[in-house]
């Protein structure tokens, strides 16, 4: 059963910038869906559209977003406000943007608890301390009185996660939740997210550029390129053996620490297309080693492929058979 369904979502910015193109995704109850892609792939725009937080210049030109039966693009702003911070929680890349610098973290968590769950002052304070403890902040009762700047980057992200889980959300949308952190702190935060998700049974939509981070958390994966989903399926399939040439190139370009020897670097040639001047046909065709004439003429839809996955590539069967590489 899908908790969140995004169906044919297209988002445009002024100047004909097509930031998301016919994006179709779903997040099922209790599962983690990761949306992976590089800058400009449309992954963050998709997340912002779900939350109703697109910049004013952006326009949704097509599609539906449904959360638990509610049409998020057409529901009343008040209903969306109730959902946001309630049933749908957010964790951003930069915890400072999510926290109010002039309020103590206790006040901020308590406000959410009182507003969304209707708790009284004392109950909210008690619950806030429990939440800080749950996310691994030492001396939680004391730290409720501190302001965001008094926490380190890693501790601040724990505070944001405490706020995110405070109102028993059914879905957490985490946009690059560890990108601003050092690697040892990232490992701690990922460990925490994994533990909370498993203990609470919450669905997670993870937006990330890091295939390694995605591999550790995702049940299913959608790979985005130039505003489109180009491959989706189980994490084991899509990360283990991508069938889209872009996914394959992306995976190969990640330098792995667990290699037995130095291998050099496998880049994808060229650069991503200008989203205001996308080529006809497949947007990846100019960088693709498998390209044929049809790719330059017709943009492939998501096609059913091996292992229940879907791949937007006319040549996905040949790419899969080519093996090697990634």
């Amino acid at each position: 059963m899908s908790l969140l369904r995004i169906d044919g979502l297209s988002v445009e910015f002024p100047g004909g910038v097509r930031a998301a193109r016919e994006v179709t995704l779903d997040v099922r109850a209790g599962e983690t869906l990761a949306v992976v892609g590089e800058s400009g792939s449309g992954k963050s725009v998709t997340a912002l559209a779900v939350l109703g937080l697109l910049p004013e210049t952006a326009k949704v030109t097509a599609g539906r977003i449904e959360f638990d039966g509610v049409d998020l693009l057409r529901c009343r702003p008040r209903r969306l406000n109730e959902l946001r911070g309630g049933a749908i929680a957010m964790v951003y890349q930069d915890p400072l943007t999510a926290l109010n610098p002039v309020l103590t973290v206790g006040r901020q968590i308590e406000e959410a608890l009182r507003r969304h769950l209707g708790l009284g002052r004392r109950a909210a304070a008690g619950r806030a301390a429990e939440l800080l403890d749950l996310v691994g902040i030492p001396q939680p009762g004391q730290r409720l009185k501190d302001y965001p700047h008094q926490f380190s980057g890693g501790m601040r992200q724990r505070v944001v996660i405490a706020m995110a889980i405070s109102c028993d959300p059914r879905l957490i949308i985490a946009d690059e939740p560890t990108t601003a952190l050092d690697v040892t702190m990232q490992a701690q935060i990922l460990h925490l997210l994994r533990r909370l998700r498993d203990d609470l049974g919450t669905s997670l939509m993870l937006i990330s550029h890091d295939v390694g981070v995605v591999a550790g958390l995702a049940d299913r994966v959608a790979v985005m390129y130039a505003g489109r989903v180009v491959e989706r399926g189980s994490a084991a399939e899509v990360i283990g053996a991508p069938n889209h040439p872009y996914g394959r190139g992306l995976l190969a370009s990640v330098p792995r620490i667990d290699a037995a020897a130095r291998t050099g670097f496998a880049a994808i040639p060229g650069t991503p297309p200008d989203p205001a001047a996308l080529p006809a046909g497949c947007a990846f065709a100019p960088r693709c080693g498998h390209v044929v004439d049809r790719c330059r003429a017709e943009d492939p839809p998501l096609l059913d492929a091996a292992g229940g996955r879907q791949v937007a590539c006319w040549r996905h069967a040949e790419v899969a058979a080519a093996g090697g590489g990634a």
């Binding site: 990640v254 667990d258 670097f265």
Partner: protein, 324 residues
């Protein structure tokens, strides 16, 4: 002759802040040989960038010295200093902010030649074109402003600007961390090719261990101003000995579902201590799963342990850990 092109001896860099003095680099020794890539790795605040900048005398040394090709740069002045500095160049992290937006690519790459009074107008132009070719940008980019380039192309311009003086050593400060991974690989492969073609040495400051694994010949790991482990890249990654190196490698995500699902609890505990008041003895002990009372008493020196050097009093007792 050891063949050391760069020889840094007990380098110490301090910063005064309102709250007190931070020792960003605390008595570090390191060498880079001709044609060698040494990676300096560590997390934010470990002092790796300060050390890189100190090598170029962009930060003053509080103690210690930097010998380049056997000559202490601090003893040089005037024309001899300028001469020496041509041979050491820097590639910055953010090609966006390190390139003057009002100049063209050609002017940016030509600038170091003009500053050093090298060549005629025509000679400089030829050199600029040849250097742009070397970094995979042709002469068609000469008249473009940086704003018309992608992030990867801008970093190629940054590298061309560093190469135009034919240096022997590049100090690269996180040169790919602002780039997407598929573009990052293009720049890293370019740096490897340039090293092979030009015999360049590099001091490569980085936080990404995957990059370091495939780029560097040798690695030095820094934590709170000190080198905790150093040695050949294959040995360090096959068998990290310092608990901090182990924690770094254990924390680095791998794009492999089976490996990531088997992940255990993180090895480094808690947060970086206050750099204004680092822990006594071993700086890492407050986060170390193997710490003992002795670790608070003495600062461990780097000692040889097989093919690597490690600064841990207990290195012989630390269980082996292999990320592979």
């Amino acid at each position: 002759m050891s063949g050391a092109l760069l020889d840094v001896r007990s380098a110490t860099v301090t910063y005064k802040t309102r709250a007190g003095t931070v020792t960003a680099v605390d008595g570090v020794d390191l060498t880079v040989r001709r044609g060698e890539i040494l990676a300096l790795v560590g997390e934010s605040g470990c002092g790796k960038s300060s050390l890189g900048r100190a090598v170029l005398r962009l930060e003053p040394l509080r103690h210690g010295s930097v010998l380049f090709d056997g000559v202490d740069l601090a003893t040089l002045s005037g024309a001899r200093l300028r001469q020496a500095r041509r041979r050491l160049q820097m590639v910055f992290q953010d090609p966006q902010s390190s390139l003057d937006p009002r100049r063209t690519v050609g002017q940016i790459v030509e600038r170091p030649l003009k500053v050093h009074g090298i060549g005629t107008v025509a000679q400089r132009r030829d050199k600029v074109v040849a250097t742009l070719d070397l970094v995979g940008l042709g002469s068609r980019y000469l008249d473009r402003p940086p704003a018309a380039l992608s992030g990867g192309q801008r970093q190629r311009v940054g590298i061309a600007r560093a190469l135009v003086l034919d240096p022997d050593l590049l100090v690269c400060d996180e040169p790919v961390s602002a780039l997407d991974v598929s573009i990052q690989a293009q720049i890293l492969q370019l740096l490897l090719d340039l090293r092979d073609r030009l015999g360049l040495a590099m001091l490569f400051v980085a936080h990404d261990l995957g990059v370091v694994r495939h780029l560097a010949d040798r690695v030095a790991v820094m934590y709170l101003g000190r080198i905790v482990e150093g040695g050949p890249v294959d040995d360090m990654f096959a068998r990290p000995r310092h608990p901090y190196t182990q924690a770094l490698l254990a924390a680095a995500p791998v794009p492999d579902v089976a490996v990531e699902r088997a992940r255990s609890v993180p090895l480094a505990l808690g947060d970086l201590p206050d750099p204004l008041a680092p822990p006594s003895g071993c700086h890492f002990r407050t986060r170390c799963p193997h710490q003992r009372p002795v670790c608070a008493q003495a600062s461990p020196e780097l000692v040889q342990a097989g093919p690597v050097e490690v600064a841990c009093l207990r290195h012989e007792d630390i269980p082996a850990f292999s990320p592979v």
